[in-house]
């Protein structure tokens, strides 16, 4: 049998590499901007398109799906071809994948600042873009499996298993978390409501971390680290155990994002138990990576690429130790909703994803350009300023989290809250916010240095767009009568492998999701909780548009420090009409679950127009366009119809009367404002959002009044 000659496609790898760098800089710049906005409200720039609530999702989406996403595809397209000794299945599909993904990113960059969002964290994009993501993901899948099928290496290396698991699980997660009912071209409602919606979202959110930020990077680690260190992975057996245990356990851990909420207790306990177990496979992977460098630590001293890998793996180890700790209920009760979580995710994002990406870029670009890296000194500078950047970012922000949580939970000896005004705790952490943005600037400086260094590297070399290679073709499979190992057989059969990985991730998903989604008694209803009025519903959509939930939660946990501050703890039955749920994940300002009736309409008006006029030192942006923009009531009927389809009990035919009711309620609020010397037309957006804020948590109070009578 003669060896076959073929060509690796390096051009597609280069394209994804450039996209990684460009979107990385964009995503981090937006991150820096929102960091500054948190202590300098003028940085919101006075337009609705650049306020924190709208561009925070832009930052998270850009970093996760644009920077990390393109880096994944770069790594996969490079390693897959070489591990399988073949060119990618189809150049056309490769290009459709590349340009399709970039178009999706551009669509996100346009729609998110416009306020077109589903409000589900890391899944904010509206339904037409969700469909585009699905299609492009399928293109990626066909291209990957096509390549696997025409391979010249019989067995699939562990990196490829991670890629397969990534592909299949992200497909399941994306589809299940995007089941929404379109109201118009750019507006939809989530099919699930309240606690069910929350469970689906955080099953998704947690596993997006697992299967987008972790498994593909572990696959890349298993390929690139042995290449960089020029030695095989420390233990291939450990990598097999690592793979199966990781994908099996990760999928169960989502509910640790919902501890002390109204999620059924058993689901919370399940999430905690599996989160704690998760430390074993995570550290197994980290140790396998670090021990691959055994006997090569002298190389680490000289080789900046390995330095990035070592710090990246260490950050992974830190983040995956911290994760299980944070899932313990006692720790979570303290840390959740604070900046501690922001610090935790940035150890992972900047350290693990960022540094691994930089290492791979520094290693890969000179190779496909057939040259040396332009400047090792600049790369070394990047390593040090990047590491310092991470430290300057995370240490102050950990400190801010601890400080704020301690203050929010502190009582005086007399038993009253020591800091009853939330704002006091915010003002205390402003210096840490300033420090954090310094850390971010250092980190970004490193990335820009890298961009320059790699640009010069590309310029001095020339791209080997089609790199010649040679390998023996696969012989027809001869039935191996004494094939002992079941796993060894599996490694030759990609489709069966994918199905098995799918089964493994579906086990946890079903046990975790199905009872809450299907058993009614898990969500006790409350008779006094009624659907939103049309004006409140419109106001709620404005709340979603402005991204208020980026800073304000809507769920009171059963702690005395919270019930004293906000009021009665939240019940599952309060959220049954909330498509989507709006609990949020972070408190930059106070919780709003019990906001209704606490303050006057006039206060809300001034507070939205200029928060500092009523709360000295507030970091909330001004929302003055809410008084100039007229509420769009053309969709009211469609919204009522959609809600009814989802099970909200609006009477049949109510959609025809809805706008009349809306006008009436709006006029009432405008009249009340007029009596308090605030002149605003009743058809302005601000009236709707005030109506919504005044409704929050009111129903349950009505219940109490009724019971007392």
């Amino acid at each position: 049998m003669q060896p076959e000659k073929f060509y690796y496609d390096n051009k597609i790898v280069r394209n994804f590499a450039i996209a990684t760098i460009v979107w990385g800089i964009v995503g981090m710049l937006v991150g820096l901007l929102i960091a500054v906005q948190l202590y300098h409200p003028a940085a919101n720039m006075g337009t609705q398109y650049t306020t924190f609530g709208r561009i925070r999702p832009l930052h998270t989406n850009a970093v996760i799906f644009a920077f990390v996403g393109n880096a994944i595809f770069m790594g996969v397209y490079y390693s897959l071809q070489r591990l399988l000794k073949t060119r990618m299945f189809s150049d056309v599909l490769s290009n459709i994948h590349f340009w399709g993904w970039q178009l999706i990113i551009v669509a996100a960059a346009i729609t998110l600042p416009l306020g077109l969002t589903t409000s589900h964290e890391y899944a904010e994009l509206e339904w037409p873009i969700d469909i585009a993501i699905t299609l492009i993901w399928v293109v990626f899948g066909i291209n990957m499996f096509g390549t696997i099928i025409k391979r010249r290496e019989r067995h699939l290396y562990v990196a490829i298993w991670f890629y397969i698991a990534t592909f299949v699980t992200i497909a399941v997660l994306h589809i299940c978390n995007s089941i929404e009912l379109p109201v118009s071209m750019w507006k939809s409602y989530m099919v699930y409501a309240g606690v069910q919606d929350a469970l689906v979202q955080w099953w998704y959110g947690h596993n997006a971390v697992a299967f987008f930020l972790t498994t593909p990077y572990l696959g890349m680690m298993y390929y690139f680290l042995p290449k960089m260190a020029n030695r095989p992975v420390y233990s291939y057996k450990l990598s097999i155990l690592h793979f199966w245990a990781l994908i099996f356990i990760y999928i169960w851990a989502g509910p640790h994002h919902l501890l002390y909420t109204t999620l059924p207790g058993w689901a919370q306990s399940l999430g905690v138990a599996f989160s704690v177990m998760l430390i074993a496979p995570s550290w197994g992977g980290m140790i396998n990576g670090l021990l691959t460098l055994r006997g090569a630590w002298d190389k680490v001293r000289d080789d900046v690429v390995l330095k990035f890998m070592v710090v990246g793996l260490t950050a992974y180890g830190m983040a995956t130790f911290e994760g299980p700790m944070l899932s313990l209920k006692q720790v979570n009760g303290f840390a959740h909703f604070t900046d501690w979580i922001i610090a935790h995710v940035h150890v992972g994002a900047m350290g693990w994803n960022g540094f691994l990406t930089f290492a791979i870029l520094y290693w890969l670009i000179p190779r496909i350009y057939k040259t040396e890296l332009f400047s090792k000194k600049l790369a070394s500078f990047h390593f040090w300023i990047g590491t310092l950047g991470i430290l300057f970012y995370v240490i102050p922000i950990y400190w801010a989290g601890f400080t704020q949580s301690f203050m929010l939970k502190e009582f005086t000896p007399e038993g009253i809250l020591k800091y009853p005004n939330f704002l006091e705790t915010t003002l205390r952490v402003i210096p840490m916010y300033i420090m954090r943005s310094v850390g971010g600037t250092l980190y970004l400086t490193g990335v820009i240095t890298m961009a320059y260094n790699l640009f010069r590297t590309m310029k001095q070399g020339s791209l080997a767009a089609n790199e010649a290679a040679q390998a023996m073709p696969l012989e027809p499979v001869v039935k191996e009568a004494h094939e002992h190992s079941w796993h060894r057989v599996l490694e030759r059969r990609p489709i069966q492998f994918m199905v098995l990985a799918l089964v493994v991730i579906l086990i946890g998903s079903f046990v975790e999701l199905m009872p809450t989604l299907t058993i009614k008694s898990n969500i006790p209803t409350i008779a006094s909780v009624k659907p939103y009025t049309p004006l409140e519903l419109q106001g709620r959509d404005l709340y979603i548009r402005e991204g208020c939930l980026a800073c304000h939660s809507q769920t009171v946990r059963p702690f005395r420090s919270e019930t004293e501050r906000y009021g009665e703890y939240s019940k599952a039955g309060e959220f049954v009409y909330d498509h989507p749920f709006l609990w949020g994940s972070e408190r930059k300002g106070p919780d709003l679950a019990r906001e209704g009736g606490m303050k006057s309409n006039q206060w809300h008006y001034y507070h939205l127009m200029d928060p500092r006029s009523v709360s000295q030192g507030s970091i909330m942006p001004n929302y003055d366009w809410l008084t100039s923009q007229t509420l769009d009531t053309s969709l009211t009927a469609a919204k009522i119809n959609a809600m009814r389809k989802l099970g909200v009990p609006y009477p049949v035919g109510y959609e025809k009367r809805a706008n009349a009711d809306l006008d009436k309620q709006a006029k009432g609020i405008a009249d009340d404002l007029a009596q308090n010397n605030v002149k605003v037309k009743s058809n302005k957006e601000i009236v709707a959002i005030i109506a919504y804020l005044q409704r929050l948590g009111v129903d349950i109070k009505a219940n109490k009044t009724a019971n007392n009578n």
Partner: protein
């Protein structure tokens, strides 16, 4: 105050226990599979990333 959590547990412990059993069984199965893997195969698999260079030794068999 914590009634809502404890109430949710009743009758659902079967989920906690069965999922733990599922995990233990899964873990044992993977371990058994690992123990049964041949060393020669493991070495071959570990070497895969290192032998992707553009020109392979044509005499090398692809059969593991």
């Amino acid at each position: 105050m914590f009634e809502q959590f404890t109430k949710g547990l009743s009758g659902s412990q079967v989920y906690l226990i069965s999922s733990m059993i599922v995990f233990v069984v899964f873990f044992v199965v993977v371990t058994v599979v690992l123990i049964r893997l041949k060393k020669q195969h493991i070495n071959h698999m570990g070497q895969l990333p290192l032998e992707d260079s553009t020109l392979l030794n044509p005499s090398k068999s692809l059969q593991s």
